[in-house]
Symmetry: C2
Subunit: 287 residues, 2 copies
């Protein structure tokens, strides 16, 4: 049994990359060449599209992340399943996160854990902490899998609740209180990570100070305008042998939708992944 954190750490070292490639194909936003690949409608073609993107970007990806909604909206569960299976087969050392943001009470959470880890075979999942620790336990019990808990999300309204100061926690915000729980009792199996948006780089620093070397999954770079340089400065951490990592910088549309008119979408995705990987590495001083 290989633990998720070990697979991820090995992947950071092997690829020399902190880039997480987001597989969120949205037929309405894909370039022409990509849409042509999505033949048949209703989800058919998503696997063919992903397959090309996966192979083109794998050399620059420390991980892949599939966004569940993009498959669920069009009835493409089978395409999602095939995409994850393809990564496990062709790129077995690159972990796959299923970004499903699950959150439900115990008995139901067990069904969701079964879905993500057994049905889809993902290596890690994103979960929502609002229901409390007992609702996360069924995920955390999969000791070899990774569980990324939403902490400070990248959207403009994330402060509505996440930035409220909560009583009795020494002035912590709700997000910081979630981070404290994540670094404490929830992490008995050493398999917890957090989601913190690059749109809040100061929070990346505060949370990093709270949670040690725990992996942080970082959305919000690219289309959402997150501050990559400040996020890296505040979030990088030594993961052993003087390697500065601890972050998965997710880019989705900036890679899958990189092609211009008439361009090959997979080649464009590969170039975009190489460019993002390089930009991240330049900023972390190892490019």
């Amino acid at each position: 049994m290989t633990r998720f954190i070990d697979t991820l750490t090995a992947s950071w070292r092997r690829t020399g990359s902190l880039l997480c490639v987001g597989l969120d194909p949205d037929a309405d936003k894909l370039p022409r060449a990509a849409i042509d690949a999505l033949d048949g409608g209703a989800g058919a073609g998503l696997f063919a599209f992903n397959r090309e993107v996966i192979d083109a970007t794998a050399p620059w990806a420390c991980a892949f992340k599939a966004q569940f909604a993009h498959y669920a909206a069009v009835g493409a569960e089978r395409e999602l399943q095939r995409s994850i299976a393809y990564i496990k087969q062709r790129h077995p050392d690159t972990p796959v996160i299923l970004d499903a943001k699950r959150g439900d009470i115990g008995a139901t959470a067990r069904m969701y854990a079964r879905e993500v880890f057994e049905r889809y075979g993902a290596d890690a999942v994103t979960v929502n902490p609002y229901l409390g620790g007992d609702a996360l336990a069924p995920f955390l019990e999969y000791a070899d899998k990774g569980v990324f808990v939403l902490c400070r999300t990248s959207n403009p309204g994330s402060g509505d609740f996440q930035q409220l100061a909560v009583d009795g926690t020494g002035g912590r915000t709700l997000a910081e209180h979630v981070a404290a729980r994540a670094a404490g009792a929830w992490n008995a199996n050493g398999n917890v990570g957090l989601v913190v948006g690059a749109t809040w780089p100061e929070e990346v620093g505060k949370i990093r100070a709270q949670v040690g070397a725990m992996p942080l999954l970082i959305p919000g770079v690219g289309a959402q305008g997150g501050d990559l340089a400040a996020t890296l400065e505040n979030g990088l951490v030594d993961v052993g042998d003087a390697v500065r990592a601890g972050l998965l910088i997710n880019i989705s549309r900036g890679i899958t939708g990189a092609a211009g008119d008439g361009e090959d979408f997979a080649a464009a995705a590969g170039r975009a992944a190489q460019r993002w990987c390089g930009e991240i590495n330049r900023l972390r001083g190892c490019g």
Copy 2:
């Protein structure tokens, strides 16, 4: 366009019931007769099971609620889709809630809204407020659909975050602050409801005092041991013409798993639904 709240209010009146029948078939927990109906494995048979339960319980159900995880875990999206379509066809006046507890940032939330309302054709959905108001907007924009926001969930650990007092809200807990937002800006289309567990009947009362006649979806009665009498006392509200309602009391396993050895599962489900409906009505003084 019929608004969800109007369909629901009409259903409360027509059926004289506050019972919401939960369609959460779990092959591991179903009685023998039910398992026999689940022939073929991997989700096959779930529709056949649901169809029988739906027809047997409809006279005593103000609504149906399907729990997404129970279908997703076994790859039974098609069975879920068929179950909802069956209700729309045979019992068109009984609203269907898809209990999926979605929560994601704007663009992705739009995909989830499309999934629940367009792909599955549900009349209402459950959503998680942790990401803030902008993440709920894509659901709330479906003015004719219902959106039940998680407020105080039924599980033992729900207080981990939901019961924390938040600064700057006049001593409100996080759950009460969510309720305030739900009753305010989020409810511009009059389509918001809240999820409050019967395991916290005092919270039902506090939240009812905050939100007026907003519908409350109440899990936690039955297997989870919630206090039905206190929940009704604290949560009932006049919904017009002196009808005391405003609550959807959800029972899942107590109905779908009501059959003993050798008993017909659908007949047992029908009897259990009638019993729960009667017990609720006795306690609200109209049995």
